[in-house]
Amino acid sequence: MDVSQYLEIFIDESSEHLQSLSDCIMTLEKEPDNKDTINEVFRAAHSLKGMAGTMGFKRMQHLTHDMENVFQEVRSDKISVDSAMIDLLFKCLDALDQYLENVKSSSDEGTEDNEMIIKELNDFIAKANGADVSSAPVVEAPVVAAPAAKVAESTNEVKLQLSDADKDEVAAAKEEGKHVYAITVYVNQECLLKAARAFLVFRAVEGLGQIFANHPSFQDIEDEKFDLDFSFCVASNESLDAIIAAAKDVSEIDDVVGKELTEKEAEVKVETPVPVAAPVEAPAQTASAPAPAAKASTPAQAAAPAQNQKKQTPAKSATNRTIRVDIEKLDNLMNQVSELLIAKNSLVSVSSSENGIGGNQVFRENVESLERITTNLHESVMKVRMVPIESVVNKFPRMIRDLARSLNKKMELYMTGEDTELDRTVVDQIGDPLQHLLRNSADHGLESAEVRRERGKPETGTIFLNAYQEGNNVIIQVGDDGNGIDVEAVKAKAVERGVITQDQADVMTQKEAVNLLFMPSFSMAKQITDISGRGVGLDVVKSNIEALGGDVEVKTKLGEGSTFTVRLPLTLAIIQALLVKVREELYAIALGSITSIEDIPVKDIKYVEAKEVIHLRDTVIPLVRLDRVLDVEPQEEPESLTVVIVKKGDQQAGLVVDDLIGQQEIVIKSLGKYMTGNKLISGATILGDGEVALIIDANTLM
């Protein structure tokens, strides 16, 4: 076995621990005396250290160890949490993040020792202990003492039955002058990957001695065929405590008990194999004998992990009923469901055709039931692919905190709807745009504390991120109660840059002016800062979001703040679409963007600035001749036009088509990477009869 197969578990769990550390440190910053949080932080750092150690990532282990020492001091009230310490801790987290990134990309932690950070950490501890050098060991002691104390409390015992062959091995090892210990490891009952834990324990112990006589067998352990405990013998030159400590370093291990086997025991058991339990139990207690002393000296520390464990339990059980699945497998499943859908559609088209078997009643009924099943199946698969946006947004509080410091403004981030779910692919790509918007709010949106005071606003600015589902879309609003967008300033800038003329600026609506912000290289920052203002902001946000099939809108009021509303489709792969015909070619338009379909007599077409428009229910809607846009052969103008009205936000356009085919569920397929330069066609789909229809992205026609 080799440790690399546990790399993924390590990466996942480390990220979780880092996230929880980050959350806790944020809480600590606000409530420096919150004991629960301090304990939580300590626990997370400890697990992280243990895991890094087991995986052989020494630098990571070293850094977390020193971090843990600081927490230890805090826990024992030797130092109190201040902002310098919080800053330092965040630096540590960033360094750990970097290690983890390295591990992700190269399976190795890299070579950065982060000596500066470690030194700073140690300075902290040194400060806490004054110049008293002798107190240094105190830092170490409780860490070891706490688990030891637990051994004393526990009723766990060594359970190991030795076979004759095993006993021979015990004797052999003894002859070599080694100690032989019987060890029983108790795994936390919430542990999801017991086999992996067992492996990590074995790996840790193997470093110290030779393992034999597993119970249950090695194979069974690997197959997770054991309850919550497993036992083994180890022949080693090390002390029992060292081995127990090594095993306990693995996270999610509740307890490790052990005892030294004497030669006599091995022999006795040969003669009377039945009453094994008796001699085994007695030494178990002796093994824990030195513990009470430790317990007495540090009762507070011993209680802490116990309390932690209790707190952790309910939270973890929620994840108990989930499994990790490779995204590729899901994509595969999705593809097959798509194929099934296409096959179903072709059956539907046969059944609705008048000739042949289509007329058969039974056939039609069966097709209908097949339709129901495939639709349900599709929905289920889609649901499997949905993940909460939490994984993306939970990094933001920390980011806002850092921004508040570097911008020297007071601000607070309020988030709701972190549990809103989106397709995995969307979630993976939505982080950057949202981050941009938040930075924007922090940098451009919010005023400085002084200005806010003058304006009669609370000194601390509010930034919010609200996510919720609305029909087939997920809406994410990002905004602030800051200055809002100065529309006149935007116009002036646009004129200055030659983006628009003064005349255009004069007739521009507020909305149009605000939309100027989304043009490439249009940055409003008066002063270029680190955070934003390089002019690669909102246009990138917009194009990223549009690439995901969504759109973004701004509402703003000068002096009161602005809100960016991001609208994203729930799913990317399958949509409801309207099939239309332009001459002999078939095109699909997403139903979500269609508001209505109209028959417009040619004589009703009006002209505004030499462009065709129609007047429909009190709105003027520009016409888009699809045949021209799509370079189709022109034809003689009919008397009346079929117009599909599409919308994007509150913009509308009327697409002129030749014919309507009908509504259909379509599977979106990419055109691949070879064809470029086409924004109008967002993909293609395969229809029931095998024909390919191109999908028109109506957003690009506005």
Partner: protein, 150 residues
């Protein structure tokens, strides 16, 4: 790949599919070829590079189809019963179809006897001999790249 290497231990050889385009015969490295299919319905895609004929449905996948004639500056394809679409699959960019006039045969060329060409902006990287015939060997990467011969 492993078994290919086995045979090539002694003399380095490569297998090529010989196709007819206009008057010339071209060889396509068999390792890049995913499939050879008959002409099927190609759906025009507006506003893309002019050498693309459109996209086709290859067993549920959308595959872009290009006219190599157009890319090489030859007269446009005349589709006959012998016309085929060679589906080339590249690790990075996926599948692409290339229309050829006819597929002739599979040949094995001894690489030592192939005359290498290093001309820039060329679609071929060598010339092989099959009997008294000359076969121009396509450089696949040049074919799928976004440049066009004027």
């Amino acid at each position: 790949m492993a078994d290919v290497r086995l045979e090539t231990d002694l003399v380095e050889t490569k297998q090529y599919i010989v196709v007819q385009i206009g008057n010339e015969k071209y060889g396509i490295d068999i390792n890049f070829i995913d499939n050879i299919v008959r002409m099927s319905k190609i759906t025009r895609v507006p506003k893309v590079q002019s050498y693309f004929k459109g996209v086709m449905n290859l067993r549920g996948e959308i595959v872009p189809v290009m006219s190599i004639r157009k890319k090489m500056g030859l007269p446009d394809d005349v589709i006959t019963d012998a016309s085929r679409i060679i589906i080339i699959k590249l690790e990075e960019k996926g599948s692409i179809g290339i229309i050829v006039d006819e597929v002739r045969e599979v040949i094995t060329l001894n690489m030592a006897e192939v005359e290498k060409t290093t001309a820039k902006d060329s679609f071929i990287n060598g010339i092989g001999k099959n009997g008294d015939e000359l076969i121009s060997l396509f450089e696949i990467n040049a074919i799928v790249e976004e440049k066009e011969m004027n």
